[in-house]
Symmetry: C2
Subunit: 319 residues, 2 copies
């Protein structure tokens, strides 16, 4: 039996399946140093990030029997909220394994959506093992944050929406990348577009993997980053293969580039972005992405930022 | 000759005229204490408020000759940006009369859109007189911020969009009110809906006027408010009559209610709101608006807030 792989048709089907279950997010015009481009504001998705799309698509495909046994997921926060909201909406029990140092806003919102939370020590324990054990004990389906065909195809509905809103394919899409679920889904939805993925400096394993033509992990001692949503140490063959086949290429941005992008979004777009959600915009503002046109789309993928961290950035920027 | 008045047909025509000139803004689901309702995120409009709609509608109706002579407007900031952006887009010169103490973000953005700015002292000079003199000198058309049929009908396109997005009329619309242009426009677009207008405490002249059945001004010594966008001391017969005929009623909210609404929007909607843009949401969160359903719409009308003011609120809220 051949392993199922994410496909353009699967993404189209996911987009149809998700209608009414996710919020269509706007395509907003932006301008910076005379260059005009478009922002896909996925931070306005329910749960504050695109993650509801993939989680909901996965959960909508569960059998009745699977729904009864509940789901388990592990996540630093955004996928946690996506799964929690989707499960709550469909009347499915959800247990989420989260690092003890995940932003409080993300833990609180996940709990508020009705999920049970199991915390673990990110430095000493393996969330994969904890989640696998919980799933086995409960007979639950494990919902991965990116290494899953249905999750990737669900995230790709962002690309289908972009095509509808633009009345055609964009010339370029710049996307934040953690495990690559969002970027791979969009690449499948928009094969005509150039796909550029952006990661935090020192966490650019997808960019390096695409350069090398094979998957390499993040280095042994990656730098601290405020992009908690993108701290993925190893991408998946599923996402990597889609991006590689589509000619995707990657780049990285500094923490200060990210902070500037968050402030740009606050002042000029009136959008609250979290650091990980702002990396593609950061690359657009530094010019690292090259030419941008009125048919180029920069995805801002999440907005779950700690209010005090945000206040500190605003104070520095306003001085 | 009968004076022209804003009409439902005029609003529909304006919505058609504005297609491609303004950004369709999303209708986002919100939940508070178990109540679900919808947010019309007009802070995502170009220029950071709904004001582009009315300004653009007015400017699109100028003759070639009028376009050549330019336009003049007075505004504390949001209408200024709306006129500046619309004029720039249509190749029309714009002079904007702004109070010297208008938020720096609004002055800068107005200038960045290419308008000339004339500052005046809000406590000693009359902006109406300054603007009228400038318009007379230059032979320019004055674009009022709310006392104008085309401006009101343009703002009403928000209501047409809501109807399209909902697939029908909402049961209730809660709207911030300064001069009443936005709320009157929406009332014309959505005659089936209950319209509730919200003003800052001590600035609730429209609410009192609707109660009394005749226009009364703001009291002599109104309190300080951070809702600079809503500091209108006297509404217009044009807007008042529409709201009165539609059975609109009003209420007011405190400065602390407004601050809480801004923080709610930051955390749960990932939207940056300015104080004046958050008053309707504030009334929704306090419960003052009464019942809200999944077909009730709360308009958040602007997001041009000073970053340091915003940082201060976030710091207080995060403590």
């Amino acid at each position: 039996m051949t392993e199922r792989r994410p496909t353009p048709d699967g993404v189209s089907a996911a987009a149809g399946r998700l209608t009414g279950h996710v919020t269509p997010t706007p395509l907003l015009p932006a301008k910076w140093r005379g260059r005009r481009f478009l922002i896909k504001a996925e931070c306005l998705q329910q749960g504050g990030s695109f993650k509801l799309r993939g989680a909901m698509n996965r959960l909508l495909r569960l059998s009745e029997e699977e729904r009864r046994r509940g789901v388990v997921a592990f996540s630093s926060g955004n996928h946690a909220q996506g799964v929690a909201i989707a499960a709550n909406r469909l009347g499915i029990e959800a247990v989420i394994v989260m690092p003890a140092d995940a932003p409080a806003v993300k833990r609180e919102a996940t709990a508020a959506a009705g999920a049970s939370i199991v915390l673990y020590d990110r430095h000493r324990e393996s969330r994969e093992e904890i989640a696998a054990r919980l799933a086995a004990e409960r007979g639950s389906v494990l919902v991965p944050s990116f290494d899953d065909v249905d999750v990737i195809e669900g995230q790709g509905s962002v690309g289908i929406e972009i095509r509808e809103q633009l009345g055609g394919a964009p010339d370029k899409v710049v996307v934040p990348c953690g495990g690559g679920g969002l970027s791979a889904g969009i690449a499948l939805a928009l094969p005509e577009a150039e796909i550029q993925i952006v990661e935090p400096a020192g966490w650019d394993d997808m960019a390096r993997s695409l350069d090398l033509g094979r998957i390499v992990p993040v280095g042994d001692d990656p730098p601290d980053t405020r992009c908690d949503a993108l701290q993925t140490k190893l991408v998946s063959p599923l996402t990597f293969e889609v991006l590689r086949a589509g000619g995707g290429r990657g780049m990285s941005v500094s923490e200060s580039d990210v902070e500037e992008a968050m402030m740009f979004a606050m002042r000029h777009l009136r959008l609250v972005l979290e650091p990980g959600g702002a990396v593609a915009l950061a690359a657009a503002l530094t010019g690292a992405v090259g030419e941008l046109t009125e048919r180029s789309v920069v995805v801002v993928s999440g907005g779950n930022v700690d209010p005090l961290l945000y206040a500190g950035m605003l104070s520095r920027a306003g001085r």
